[in-house]
């Protein structure tokens, strides 16, 4: 918990890292941004290492992003597509992990619909590092790191300073507003923890049925005046509103959710021009965000996707490094 470095460690939760540990990932990612701009987008950092990508839940962007990251570091990628796997034949997660590990792997990137599955896998594997690529309604730490990284770069640009080597200073004191289904969102949990560790002031707003009973444990505060909060925010973080939540159990309809908490042009006009808007994607236009706002210049969703690769390169690189080895060499 709260390690100052990800070197040689698992990444299961943002709580695994201290503020120093978070900053380390951002700095290493900065150095990998440049790799993505090269004509030969590959460095030999993880040559000979094997990364297993196990996605037990549908995901396109996260899986592609992790696998691209592993390949750019020259790791071999062993990708398990659940639809065609033995899991469909009734094999347990534990047996699947044992089978994959017997093939000789160095890291497991795991996406699972059950909260805590990566923690359990970390207890089952013998030597491999475990990277949580999103578990149930628990956490999605790599996404929060992407968001921190993207916001840090955007704020640096606005202030005309270098983001590289700025640590968490640009995020310190920033007013972050997270809107929507906090309770079922692994992105929201990881974001609240990460922004709070970075020293930001984190506030959340959403329907009472979609807020955890106590957001204080994530270092956040509950807010209730959306328009006032929008005007104050430096960072507005939108979350995907899952369709099934709008079926009448949690909110009466997606339409009502959109009317109360969706960001349309009128509400977007309240957000300061120098503020930024993030969204982990995929966006549902017309629900949490109107189409015009989705294309607003303050919206960083495309940068977030692009930054996915360097952040995940940094995570894999650090987790698969051995303590004492040079990191930036």
């Amino acid at each position: 918990m709260n390690a100052d470095s990800l070197v040689g460690r698992n990444l299961l939760s943002i709580n695994d890292l201290s503020a120093t540990g978070l900053a380390e990932v951002l700095e290493v990612a900065e150095s990998f941004v440049e790799v993505s701009g090269r004509s030969v987008k590959k460095i030999p950092a993880l040559k000979g290492k094997v990364v297993a990508s196990l996605f037990f839940e549908e995901s396109t962007r996260t899986r592609l992003s992790f696998e691209t990251a592993a390949k750019r570091l020259s790791a071999d990628v062993l990708s398990l597509a659940v639809a065609s796997s033995s899991v469909k034949k009734g094999e347990s997660l534990k047996d699947t992990i044992e089978t994959i590990e017997s093939l000789g792997i160095d890291a497991v990137v795991l996406r699972h619909r059950s909260s805590g599955a990566p923690h359990q896998v970390a207890g089952w594997v013998k030597g491999a590092r475990v990277i949580n690529a999103g578990d149930g309604t628990h956490e999605h730490p790599s996404q929060a790191l992407i968001d921190l990284f993207t916001v840090r770069r955007a704020l640096a640009e606005r202030q005309g300073v270098e983001s590289r080597d700025s640590g968490l200073s640009l995020l310190k004191g920033a007013k972050v507003l997270i809107i929507g289904d906090i309770n079922h969102s692994r992105v929201a949990r990881s974001e609240m923890l990460a922004y709070a560790k970075a020293g930001a002031q984190v506030r959340v707003i959403g329907p009472g049925t979609l807020l955890p009973s106590d957001v204080g444990i994530f270092g956040a505060q509950r807010a209730d005046d959306l328009e006032k909060e929008l005007a104050n925010a430096d960072v507005v973080s939108l979350l995907r509103m899952q369709e099934e939540r709008g079926s009448g159990d949690f909110v009466p309809s997606l339409h009502e959710f959109s009317a109360l908490y969706g960001i349309d042009e009128r509400r977007a006009a309240l957000i300061r021009p120098d503020a930024v808007i993030t969204h982990p994607g995929p966006m549902v236009r017309g629900v949490e965000v109107s189409s015009a706002v989705a294309d607003d210049p303050r919206m960083l969703v495309r940068q977030q996707v692009a930054n996915g690769v360097p952040i995940r390169m940094a995570i894999l690189f650090l987790a698969l490094s051995t303590p004492g080895e040079s990191l930036h060499g």
């Binding site: 059950s114 805590g116 599955a117 149930g136 309770n183 692994r186 009973s213 106590d214």
Partner: protein
């Protein structure tokens, strides 16, 4: 089987207090009680020095899994686990496959029980297939000697169904036992609803899900005059309500399970499904309140909710794993500890583990026991059925999941040092556990 047994040198625990006496057991009953009795010729002498001698324990809440779940436990293996835990009688929960909601299944379980090491009396289901809709044939089941009915594993969700079941049960002088959790509040949850469940991203089963049903059923019991037993209560608020209901004269009894007065929700932190149970492990203040409730006689019985599970149903993600944990072999020591260890009152301990549960299950000498089983939980007296246990309250042992008599391994106490060891268990006058070892 006529056995001649002498229990020598122990502290006998009577309803009224303790005395240093020897006991002689002959032809299934206690034949003599007295100080320094001479050893009868041919008697098996059991050493009871530094130990308490009392009525065998009675568990109101054991999942024996047969029929249908024999990979996890059988009546025979569950009975063995019971004997090792000091029990002479178990109430077998009806959430088997098929459920104990018909005469053939109940008769089958009674029959399996007769061939086991101790007395087994099945609880009947309140509703067919425990589905909470149509009433099970409680009258036919009562004719076999069943007196205790529950849909345990699931509470009877609809108040109207529960009210009618109470009215019907009252006429037959049966007790309804409720698993109190309103699924519209608890549904989909897998641990206590709390700041911790928020952090872990696990859906919660809130205390209010239990308390709302406790409140509802106490009102229904008052309204119908039926006899109600509340299974595995887990919150301070539930206890408060039971206390108030008893003060109003409502015919209610309540049990708590050892895991609820020894373990907190913090055990779920590592997502180990061994700690998943319904109702869930709660916060420290509830755990303390339950232990306090035991000491204050606000709770009638300690019941294990012994819930064996095959490993493949536990080696799963937390939300998918089956709820429940083993309890029979560890209940005595954990209860002793909750009652204050060295300062524990042995009379209270036997009330909680034997006398009250025997009374609630209608297994005492005064009850009409149509299933033909012997009497349990009575005061130690000459002529009474010899269901006895000799327990050593000062010796410690370490729980080893691989050394359990249960077929299953899902104890949450593996590696824990527990003080209080079962030395001998006598069931219906036969020695079944001798110095911690089975006699056959």
């Amino acid at each position: 089987m006529a056995e001649l047994i002498m229990i020598q040198g122990g502290t006998a625990v009577f309803d009224s207090g303790t005395r240093q006496v020897d006991l002689i057991i002959r032809d299934g009953v206690i034949a003599e009680i007295g100080e320094r009795l001479s050893v009868p010729a041919g008697a098996e002498v059991l050493n009871a020095e530094q130990a308490w001698v009392g009525p065998g324990f009675v568990d109101l809440h054991a999942h024996l899994r047969e029929p249908g779940g024999e990979a996890a436990e059988t009546v025979a293996s569950g009975a063995a686990a019971g004997v090792k835990g000091g029990y002479s009688a178990l109430v077998a929960m009806p959430n088997t496959v098929p459920a104990i909601d018909s005469v053939p299944v109940a008769a089958h379980v009674l029959d399996l029980g007769r061939r086991s090491m101790l007395d087994v009396v099945p609880a009947g289901a309140i509703t067919i297939d425990r589905a909470g809709e149509r009433s099970a044939p409680m009258g036919e089941l009562a004719a076999l000697g069943l007196t205790f009915f529950t849909d345990d594993g699931m509470g009877v969700q609809r108040a109207g169904v529960m009210r009618r079941a109470m009215l019907y049960a009252k006429g037959l002088r049966l007790t309804l036992a409720q698993h109190c959790e309103d699924e519209s509040l608890a549904g989909g949850g897998c641990m206590n609803a709390s700041a911790l469940s928020s952090r872990l991203g696990l859906a919660g089963r809130p205390a209010i899900a239990e308390e709302a049903m406790v409140a509802r059923d106490l009102l229904l019991a008052e309204h119908t005059g039926a006899s109600l037993h509340l299974l595995h209560l887990s919150t301070a608020r539930s206890l408060e309500m039971v206390k108030a209901a008893k003060a109003r004269g409502i015919a209610v009894t309540a049990e708590v399970a050892p895991h609820h007065f020894t373990l907190t929700e913090a055990c779920c932190e590592g997502y180990d499904p061994l700690f998943k149970v319904h109702p869930p492990l709660r916060g420290a203040s509830d755990v303390q309140a339950l232990a306090q409730g035991l000491r204050m006689r606000e709770i009638d019985a300690v019941a294990t909710d012994h819930a064996p599970h095959a490993p493949e149903t536990k080696d799963r993600p937390f939300d998918e794993a089956t709820p429940g944990m083993l309890g029979l072999e560890t209940a005595f020591g954990l209860t002793l500890e909750a009652l204050g260890g060295d300062d524990a009152d042995p009379v209270l301990l036997f009330e909680l583990l034997s006398r009250n549960p025997a009374r609630i299950a209608k297994l005492t000498a005064g009850d009409e026991r149509r299933h033909g089983l012997s009497a349990h939980g009575g005061d130690l007296s000459v002529g009474s059925d010899a269901n006895l246990v000799v327990v050593d309250p000062s010796t410690s042992w370490v729980v080893d999941r691989n050394q359990l008599a249960s077929l299953a391994r899902n104890t949450p106490y593996d590696g824990r040092t527990i003080r209080g060891r079962i030395r001998h268990t006598v069931v219906a006058g036969s020695l079944v556990l001798n110095d911690g070892e089975f006699t056959r």
